[in-house]
Every structure is written in structure tokens, then in C-alpha cells.
Homo-oligomer: 364 residues x 2
């Protein structure tokens, strides 16, 4: 499905060291604990990051560890937050992350959503007073693993132009959707509503490569392909059709921030700092639904199987094949489970410094 991302991974893997997923997850959890994070929260963050790296989404995987250590040490994120769940209706709950990590609060929200949906067919759950939650897909997948269909939405600070705008407003606000597939791993969509993620630009820069056309703009809002000049990203659809991507970013923003009662994109402190002491109060939003309420489970499962088989057998461009959403991620997972997760030299250096600082066993 994601050719551009596939090429990206290949390029990144060239100089990388392969590390076992279990080793990485263990290291992430140990480092977070050493920085003052409670066991359960550290485990949830480590699980989210390692599983995301396994699926090949390196932008939201273990590379986030140094950032998370900075913010938990700085006090922006509470390592020992007390997560609280309040049920607001038979099918609605609010999870208060207490300014802790977004990952344990989001896993908790999905667990609550699955419980309420199991009883009632459908549920919505918000997470408030949260921080970065990694890849939205983690939480949609968690629900799909329990036989549920789920949406996950999050927001972030300003990186992306509004349509017809010249300055960043929305974040790269993710939309994730997952659904169970009988006898297979779940169907999975996990996408930013910008054309490319922000850190992709940094990588073009570090490789001395131009950014593709119609993907990014400079500080004056003019199109640029020079990575050093990039000041903001274009929404999905680019200059001409970006009203669609901007609308999707806006939708995710409304669900994550307005419906949850949290600050919206432009009112958020930047993820990157320099302030790493003040909580950011991110919001997340989840919808969980049982697939066997509006039709039978047999009908749902047979329908998914037929649809996915038909999609995957569609004729393809030379040298490629048509994949269903998630296929690329699961292929990467199989490969990385077997061979290890590639960790780039720069990140390996950061991990070595982390190991030394917290007296942990080095990762490689």
C-alpha cells in the first residue's frame, strides 16, 4: 500500500543495527522506570513504541524514547499519574490521564470502550489531560484484537497549513481505524492527515535529498522542495485539493479537543519544547463498535474476507501489488520479528547515552 513509506524504510535500514523487539521493549520500559515512571505506565509506553516500530512506523516507534525521557524528567509528563475513569452514560466514558503518558491512558480507554461496547454494541471514550500517545493505530488495533471495530483520533500542535493558508495551524492529527478479520491480523489504517509526517522532512534533510513537490512550504507559505527551508506541511491533497486533508485534520481536531473539552491545536504548547515542564493537556477520542450488531458475525466475517480477497487480487502497476490497509505493516512486522528492528546509528548513540546515564544494560 504505502510505497513511499516502504522506500523510506529501505533507505533507513541501510546503516541500521538490528535489535530484537523484546530487547527494545525491555530497554524502553527500563529507561522510563529509571526516569521515575511507574511500572504499569512504563510497560504501556514500551509496548506501544516497540509494537509500532515492529509494524514499521519508525516515526512513532522507539525513536520517541529520548523525547519521553526529557518530558518525564522535566515534569511535563507525570511518571506516576493516577488514571481515573468516569462513566458518563451507558456507552460513554472519560479517562483522565492526570498529565501522565498518553499510552497507558489510551490503552485504558480502549479497555473501557470494549467493555461498554460488548454490553451495548457501541461506545465512545475520551482521554483528557493527556500527553503524546504515540501511534493512534496502537489503540484501534488493541480494540480489534478484542473483536471490535474502532476509530482512534488524536491532536497535536501546529505543523500543517490550513487550505489556502500560509502558516501552520492544525497538527498532523492522526486518524486510525482497525477492524477484526477472521483468521488474519486486523485490518488497519493509521494515517496522518498531512501528506508526509514532519520527521520525514528532517530525514530528507539529513540525506541531502529534496522534499517531493507539493508536500511542504517555507516560512512565507511558499512551496519548497529544500528541506532546510521547510516551515510547514501541506494537508493531504496538496495545494489544489488540500481542502480535503485539511477537513480531515479539522475533524480529528474537533473530536480530540473540542468534544473532549481540551485545548485545540493552535492553543497547545509545542511537543518539541523548549518548555518541558508544563503539561500540554492533549485529548484523544475513541469509538468502539461490535461488528455483530447490525449484521451477524458470520455475515461480517464473510464480507470482510470477500472484500479483502478481491482488493488484494486487483491488477497492479508493474513491479507492485495492490495491498489492503495494514498489509504492509503486517509484512514488516513478520520481517522484523524474524530479523530484528533496525535502529539507526544516531538513535543507537542516544540509546547508549541513556544506558550510561541510568546505568542500564546497553542495547547493542
Amino acid at each position: 500500500m504505502a510505497t513511499a513509506q516502504g522506500q523510506w524504510q529501505d533507505a533507513m535500514a541501510d546503516a541500521a543495527v538490528l535489535v530484537s523487539p523484546a530487547r527494545l521493549e525491555h530497554f524502553v520500559a527500563a529507561a522510563l522506570r529509571a526516569a521515575g515512571t511507574a511500572d504499569e505506565a512504563a510497560g504501556a509506553v514500551a509496548r506501544a513504541l516497540a509494537s509500532t516500530s515492529l509494524r514499521g512506523v519508525d516515526s512513532h516507534g522507539v525513536r520517541l524514547l529520548p523525547h519521553y525521557l526529557r518530558v518525564v524528567e522535566g515534569g511535563r509528563v507525570k511518571g506516576r499519574a493516577k488514571i481515573a475513569v468516569e462513566t458518563r452514560a451507558p456507552v460513554a466514558a472519560v479517562v483522565d490521564a492526570d498529565d501522565g503518558f498518553g499510552h497507558p491512558a489510551s490503552y485504558r480507554a480502549v479497555a473501557e470502550g470494549c467493555r461498554l461496547a460488548a454490553a451495548n454494541g457501541l461506545a465512545m471514550v475520551s482521554v483528557v489531560n493527556s500527553s503524546h500517545f504515540g501511534a493512534a493505530g496502537c489503540y484501534a488495533l488493541e480494540a480489534a484484537g478484542q473483536g471490535m471495530i474502532a476509530f482512534a483520533f488524536g491532536n497535536s500542535d501546529s505543523f500543517v497549513l490550513p487550505h489556502d493558508g500560509v502558516a501552520p495551524f492544525h497538527g498532523t492529527t492522526p486518524i486510525a481505524f482497525a477492524a477484526p478479520v477472521r483468521g488474519e491480523r486486523p485490518y488497519l489504517i493509521d494515517m496522518a492527515t498531512s501528506i508526509v509526517p514532519w520527521n520525514r522532512v528532517q530525514d530528507y534533510r539529513s540525506k541531502g535529498m529534496p522534499v517531493p513537490e507539493d508536500v511542504a512550504v517555507d516560512a512565507a507559505g511558499r512551496p519548497t522542495t529544500e528541506p532546510a527551508d521547510v516551515a510547514a506541511l501541506l494537508p493531504l491533497g496538496g495545494r489544489r485539493y488540500g481542502f480535503k486533508g485539511a477537513a480531515l485534520a479539522s475533524l480529528a481536531e474537533i473530536l480530540s479537543a473540542i468534544v473532549t473539552g481540551m485545548p485545540y491545536c493552535a492553543a497547545l504548547l509545542p511537543m518539541a519544547g523548549p518548555d518541558v515542564t508544563t503539561p500540554r493537556h492533549l485529548g484523544h477520542f475513541f469509538i468502539v463498535m461490535r461488528p455483530d450488531v447490525l449484521t451477524s458475525l458470520d455475515s461480517y466475517e464473510a464480507g470482510m474476507a470477500a472484500y479483502l480477497a478481491d482488493l488484494r487480487r486487483q491488477p497492479a502497476q508493474p513491479g507492485s501489488r495492490v495491498m489492503a490497509p495494514g498489509d504492509r505493516e503486517w509484512a514488516t512486522l513478520d520481517q522484523r520479528n524474524a530479523a530484528g528492528i533496525p535502529v539507526a546509528p544516531a538513535l543507537l548513540g542516544e540509546f547508549a547515552a541513556i544506558a550510561e546515564r541510568y546505568r542500564l544494560e546497553p542495547i547493542a
Copy 2:
């Protein structure tokens, strides 16, 4: 927001005759009744088409009348369908359209969704055994008019390439989302998951204009800008990033067809015929949620107001302004309520023939 669509409307309006919205709605309903459609269903279709034309979405407005007359006369769509509602859970209902028009069944589904969500905070409703429902936005808007946030999804037959594919598979499957805004008309997203709608290509052809780059392909799946050669559309994101648009189409397809137990895109009879006697069994899917469950109504309303005001005051490209989703549609509605809805000469000719055939008062 939608510059490309705005230009489009300006171009179309050049040679058009302006007709009052009430006159158009009355004519559509009268023609449908004359073709054997029950009063309530004819009224629902007319309301959907006229309101869609008013918002400037001409592709899904009154231009659909000749097609709807063909299918109701052909027997594909029952003019006197018996809509049945079955509640499957406290927050879930199935509306059986009985092979009638999609519009009355979808309005009914939204009414049921609003009723269930008012009581429980959230609801999902499917429509099964349906036909074309016009613009998905009609139904999200209907819920927003009742103070609810809503998603609407539909599917359609194959027009759009899968990512990396060479032949059409998904439809232009719409995603709509609407939310109430205190003191304003609702926030509205109503978008196809292809870059442009299918009939936009027909219009480029009739105007002798090339199709923009990276929007459409020929019968061999190769990029083309020649309207006469266009055989399929590219998903939002184009050749390089179309995996995102294809994923959104796939998501809408799963909710509209698989979750509802209806046939998926490639298994549907084509909307355009030639068979206009066999029912198509389209599915639609709606989620309705109260905005005052996870946060207070005051918090929601204040949050929306602040977010939208901030978005609308963002600095813009020279000669344009940053709009929120729906702003363009509501501006068009004000203008068309005052001046009338532009009806192109070709459509006016079709309306004249319809008037003669059914002995109706001509529209202009």
C-alpha cells in the same frame, strides 16, 4: 476552502438559468410522484436534492432527477417502498429501505439515530437494501440540526483505482461529518475519497479543458489529462500518496457495506445502468453522538467557537481566505437563496422534457 470547486461553480454558472430553490424542490417532488413515487419518499428526495444544490454541490443536487426517474420507472428503485426500522441494541438500529430511494431511508435512520443518541449519548444506524442517497452531507447535517455530531458513510460502484492499481475498484465513497455550532449553521464536511468526482471529468470534456495532472488514469491505468481517455479516478493523494485516499475509501466501504451486510463496491451493479430494473442493495452507515456527554455543552460550544474563529482568522494566500469546512457551502446557500440555483442549459432541457412527459408545469 474549496477553491477548485468555487472556480468550477463560477464556470458552470455562466450559461445557467437561475431557478428558485422552492420551485426546483417542488418540481423534483412532482416529477417523482408522477413517476410513481409515494408522497413522503418524493418529498425526501426533493428535499435532499434541492438542499444539496443550494449548498453548491451540483454533482449531487437536482441534476440527479432524470437518473432517479429512470430507475424508479425501470423498477430498480421502488417508488412505494415500505421502510422498516429494527432496533438491535439500545444504541443500534437497522433501517431496511426495501429497495426504495436512499434519501427517505437515510433521513429516517438519522431520526432514529438522534432518538437513540438523545437517550444514550451515542448511536449507530445502518440502512440496508438501499439505493443512491444523494449527498452524504444531507444526513450528517440533519443530525447537526438537531444538536448532534454525526458521521455519514455510503458506498458506490467502482470508479477509483486502489493504490498501486490499474483498474477501478472502490467507488468515490463519501465521508460526511457535521457538528452543531452555537449561533451559526453547522460545521460540515462532505467529501468524496477520490481527488475529484466522476462528473467533474465529464465537465472538463464538455468544456474542452484538460483534466488536471495526477487526478485520473486511462483504461490501462496510465496517468492522463485527456478527458476522453479517462477510465478511472485516482484516490485522494494521487499516484504517490494515494494510499491515504484509498484507505479512506476502504474505511467507508467497510462501514457502508461489510458492517451493514450489503454487497461491496466491486460487487455492485453500476449506478449508470444499463440495468435499471435490478435493485442494487447499497448500504449506508451513520454514527450520531451528543456533544454534551464527554464534556459540558458550554465547553463544547465555547471550544467550537474559539477553534473556528481562530481557523478563520489564519493568514491566507494572496487573493484567498482561510475557511472552515462548510463555510463555502453556506456562503453559496445564502447566495443561491437570494439569487436562485443555476441550472445549466442541458439540464434545463431535460427538465423541459420531464415536464412535458409527466404534464407538469415547466420549471422555467
